[in-house]
């Protein structure tokens, strides 16, 4: 609360032009952070889908009949050769062969990492939003003051 009051005092001293600049900058940063948060959410969802797919696959015995998607609307019949190993895309074109438990562990680790990043970003975004909102409120007050004085 003390920091908020301090920032409020700092904003109070600013000119209308400076306040406009602060608000614009704040809004821009908040938008960028929101975009990043959205990307993290998408990535987390993808990893959760992968994790549940691994879970589903581990329950199927070897030799099980499956349909493999070649495109979004074209599937070919196949037989499950090995349900104990998976290839994991770790980024920059590298794939690592892992066992089912290792694959699940990888997904869980990544999900936890993304969630912690998400929480940190959310905190930063809310602080930036507060500053931008404060600047907006003070700006409106100053503009009204200028109107009434003129």
């Amino acid at each position: 609360m003390a920091t908020s009051a301090g920032s409020w005092k700092g904003l109070e001293r600013m000119s209308v032009e400076q306040l406009k600049a602060v608000k614009e900058q704040g809004d821009l940063e908040v938008n960028l952070l929101q975009e990043s948060l959205s990307n993290i959410r998408t990535a987390t969802t993808r990893l959760e889908i992968a994790s549940s797919a691994l879970n589903d696959l581990s329950l199927r015995p070897q030799g099980n009949q499956i349909l493999v998607p070649l495109t979004a609307s074209l599937y070919v019949p196949a037989t499950l050769h090995d349900s104990q190993h998976v290839l994991v895309d770790v980024g920059t074109g590298y794939f690592i062969q892992k066992t089912m438990p290792q694959g699940k562990h990888y997904c869980d680790r990544k999900i936890n990492l993304l969630k912690s990043n998400f929480d940190q970003l959310l905190e930063v975004a809310s602080k930036k939003k507060n500053v931008a909102d404060e600047a907006g409120v003070i700006l409106q007050a100053k503009l009204k003051q200028l109107e009434s004085s003129s």
Binding site: L87, V90, G91, T92, G93, Y94, F95, I96, Q97
Partner: protein, 140 residues
């Protein structure tokens, strides 16, 4: 005679003013080019930072593996089996390269920003000169 002299003075001062305004326009164009260059560099820096982060994550994953782990590299549409040590070395080399590029970009951006600041100062001084010129003409 005096009128002729004052006419000459006016003509000279207006041509001086025109020169100053032309100079200001040129400097403003230069500043605009610099700002575009800075924006382009920032964009490249962002791209390299993302790549660096991704490569560091890959390196962490490779460091967790045992020596007998199967690692594959996607080359075009084909997965090619690769030795773990080789993959490790490749990723490290790439990290070194990207880090060096980032350092170079940082230096470039710093240099461009210094140039931008000096250009801004020059423009400010020119504007002040033009204003004082116009004020002088107004008094005359």
């Amino acid at each position: 005679m005096n009128r002729r002299r004052s006419e000459l003075r006016n003509a000279m001062s207006s041509s001086n003013l025109r020169d100053l305004q032309r100079e200001l326009e040129n400097k403003a164009n230069d500043l605009s080019k610099l700002q575009k260059e800075i924006a382009k560099n920032h964009q490249m820096r962002k791209k390299y930072t993302v790549q660096l982060g991704e490569n560091e994550l890959v390196l962490k994953e490779l460091d967790l593996l045992k020596d007998d782990a199967n690692v594959y590299k996607l080359i075009g549409p084909v997965l090619v089996k690769q030795d773990l040590a080789e993959a490790n070395a490749n990723v490290r080399k790439r990290i070194e390269y990207i880090s060096a590029e980032l350092k170079r970009l940082d230096a470039t951006v710093q240099d461009l920003e210094e140039k931008q600041n000096s250009k801004k100062d020059t423009i400010l001084k020119l504007q002040q000169r033009i204003q004082s010129f116009q004020a002088g003409k107004g008094k005359a």
